[in-house]
């Protein structure tokens, strides 16, 4: 491919992606449910449960106690750890309790439960408070990093890694390229798409701020070619904005999981992040578009991250759409707000159907990383999957073919199933990013991703060496 980066710079905007990675699959998109739905105001919540751990890294310590009063936007939890981010209250009210709440990942985890005042003003989504002329040079790099940390910004693309740590210059891994992830490859979800269409200038501002903070020379915005409008809009904004050198939109092929950072890097830079490594090792930062938008807000307005856009979707939802929701809202409340469920729902998923986590307890609150709530019906899940019909692996090799990390999912899964963890390791279990492609294509309907996940947990437990 030569030097793709320079090719891109000399390329006229094309909305057809030629850049992609090897492997991957094409689940049905189902984005039409919400793609045209503008970002709307979310529910006016009576109570918000702000989890103290919404990110990778150290959990926050509560800064107040039961009965204390809080203001909207007030910092209510923080930690001294480097890899961490504070949490803020989305509403004004009273701390009702600090108690365990259901957490999508951690099971039960402490949260600060805030009861809203009667007259609580809810924040509404603003169309686009930024202009094309935004000049990031008003802010110094340190200022930006500090604001990002204070606002509690973490990656909103899913993993929730504290963004400050990501964008801050690191002498060990100097950064050269920043990739903005606007792929949104996960079926059903459209929140990033809507943000790109509606908050274009804000994203641009965030990108420039992040570029300034990280010192990257090149910014590539990867957008899947099933979103030509987003590609148009973003490209137009770039052309109009000052200091646009080195910022470019790269249309990439529509394929799941194009939005995985390793796949995106492979697609547009033709570089591979080392297995078990992270992008900074090869001088790359990947930020989600929503994260970029949050950065702009945090730096310019000093607004902490207390709300986010959540796509509520799925055939079982009455009024699917994109909502600007206070963090801490319970899933139940949000679904009710969207008109409740129409048909008999089978699964409530935090996230999309490929990587999302099915939850059982609907009081689980929305966190900074919750991009979508998908409620699936039995039909969408499919009979085989719904009834958990599995046959033995016929070694058809489909899972190998689709694995974007070029692993051997069936071998790993079988090794885990038979408790042969050393075999699983010899097949590079740690390289799996749990994208779910393998499980998706498996004709035998084997929960490959599930076994691999289990194996990883097993190994982690083993390595921890539980004291006797």
């Amino acid at each position: 491919m030569g030097n793709p980066a320079s090719n891109i710079l000399s390329m006229k905007i094309a909305t057809k992606g030629i850049f992609t990675f090897a492997g991957g699959t094409h689940p049905p998109q189902s984005k039409e449910l919400t793609a045209e739905s503008e970002i709307q105001r979310g529910p006016a919540v009576k109570q918000a449960a702000v989890m103290l751990s919404q990110h990778l890294g150290a959990a926050c310590q509560p800064l107040l106690r039961k009965g204390n009063m809080v203001q909207a936007g007030q910092k209510i939890g923080d930690s001294d750890a480097f890899v961490s981010a504070p949490v803020h209250s989305p509403i004004s009210g009273k701390v009702k309790d600090i108690a365990l709440q259901s957490h999508t990942v951690l099971g039960r985890s402490p949260a600060i439960i805030i009861e809203a005042y009667e007259h609580n003003p809810t924040k509404r989504p603003v169309a686009d408070k930024f202009t094309e002329e935004f000049d990031e040079n008003k802010y110094s790099a340190e200022q930006i990093c500090d604001a990002v940390r204070q606002a509690g910004i973490v990656g909103m693309g899913g993993a929730g890694f504290p963004t400050r740590v990501k964008i801050e210059p690191n002498p060990q891994f100097p950064k050269e390229t920043m990739i903005i992830n606007g792929c949104e490859c996960e079926p059903y979800i459209t929140c990033d798409y809507r943000i790109m269409l509606e908050w274009t200038n804000q994203i641009m501002a965030g990108i420039k701020l992040a570029r300034k903070a990280s010192g990257c020379s090149q910014v590539l915005i990867g957008i899947e070619d099933n979103k030509p409008e987003a590609i148009e809009v973003m490209s137009t904004v770039i052309e109009k904005s000052p200091n646009r050198d080195g910022i470019k939109v790269v249309p990439v092929k529509t394929k799941y999981p194009q939005g995985g950072e390793r796949q995106l890097i492979q697609a547009i830079l033709n570089k591979n992040v080392p297995t078990g490594g992270i992008p900074p090792m090869i001088g790359i930062v990947v930020l989600n578009v929503a994260t970029a938008a949050a950065i702009a807000e945090a730096v310019v307005d000093n607004t902490p991250l207390t709300h986010r856009v959540v796509t509520v979707t799925g055939e079982a939802i009455d009024e699917p759409g994109n909502y600007y929701v206070p963090i801490g809202t319970s899933v139940e409340e949000l679904i009710e707000f969207c008109g409740g469920v129409t048909q008999k729902s089978a699964k409530v998923i935090v996230g999309g159907p490929m990587m999302g986590i099915a939850i059982a307890d609907l009081t689980t609150p929305i966190t900074k990383t919750t991009g979508a709530i998908t409620v699936l019906t039995k039909e969408q899940i499919g009979k085989a999957k719904f009834e958990r019909q599995q046959t033995p692996c016929i070694r058809c090799g489909r899972c190998l073919e689709v694995c974007p990390e070029h692993l051997n999912p069936t071998k790993i899964a079988h090794a885990v199933k038979n408790n042969l963890l050393d075999v699983a390791e010899s097949y590079y279990i740690s390289g799996c990013m749990e994208c779910g492609c393998c499980s998706y294509v498996c004709p035998a309907n084997i929960e490959l991703t599930g076994y691999i996940r289990t194996g990883k947990i097993f190994l982690a437990r083993q390595k921890k060496k539980i004291p006797e």
Binding site: M354, A384, T391, R395, Y440, V441
Partner: protein
Amino acid sequence: MLTDLRVSCAPHISKPLSTRSVMIDVIIGLVPAVVAAGYYFRIYALILTSTCVISAVVTEWLCNKILKKPNSLDDFSAVVTGIILALSLPPSLPIWAAIIGSVFSIAIGKMVFGGLGSNIFNPAMAGRAFLTACFGMLMTSWTVPATIDTTMPKISAENTIHARTQATPLAWSKQAIKTKTGAEVVNEQFKDTFTGEVGGCLGETSAVALLLGGLYLLIRQTIAWRIPLAVLASAFVFSAIGYLTDNTAYASPLTHLTSGGMLLCAFFIATDPVTAPLTGRGMWIFGIGVGAITMLIRIVGEYPEGIMYAVLLMNAVTPLIDRLCKRIPAGGKPSA
């Protein structure tokens, strides 16, 4: 509000594919060959085929009962095994031998290893190999298709023994290799091997039916394209070497490709996913190996046909191939 929720690992949706649908695809792909067998060898071909299928299915059911395993008939893999075994049997085989073959295929070839997906050797080929070892004479006597009066030696009561054993094009070419003459006669049979008007196993005579079914599987992406390509390409190359050195003794590559079980093997037998390697590179090695061993046996060895042994031998080394062709992760091997 919501009742009866389910939770499980991601992903929560799956491609509308199942083991059964894959197997049914294979069965559909085999239909032309079965029809051709019925056409050329008449009702007895169909009787043999159904015998094999029924006894394979019954054996699987029994084995599941004995081993106290859940019933696995609904994946249709036993049916596929039965059909493929039948297609690889000589048309004159007694019914009881066909039953022994299918029982061996399923019980020893498949179920003792743990059933679908666990077997090392292709069950149908294991069954056929056992039959050959047990009833060699029955397994090497051929009748000529009922449709024709062929240029090949006729089968008749008084002209029995050797005529029968020579009725297949490959037996002819074997003879040609020995006498160093007469390969042209074999090559002239090319048209017949293409349509199927020659002696041979039930399913291997008609190249056109096999190609039709193979194409269907390729289009449906039921089989990996690498294996048929590798098998045919390597067989082509090795037979071409022979042909180019001495075209009076060695039959032409096209004859080799269309005669015997070569096409049946390339599209339906070597592609059995369970017993073939998983990785792309492994499939190449496997396919080339099958083609090469087949040609080695056909040209150098003592048997006119080598497909069965080639497949079984490559099945045996499949685990080693898989190990050799271990995939390297996209990001390279982890350093630690």
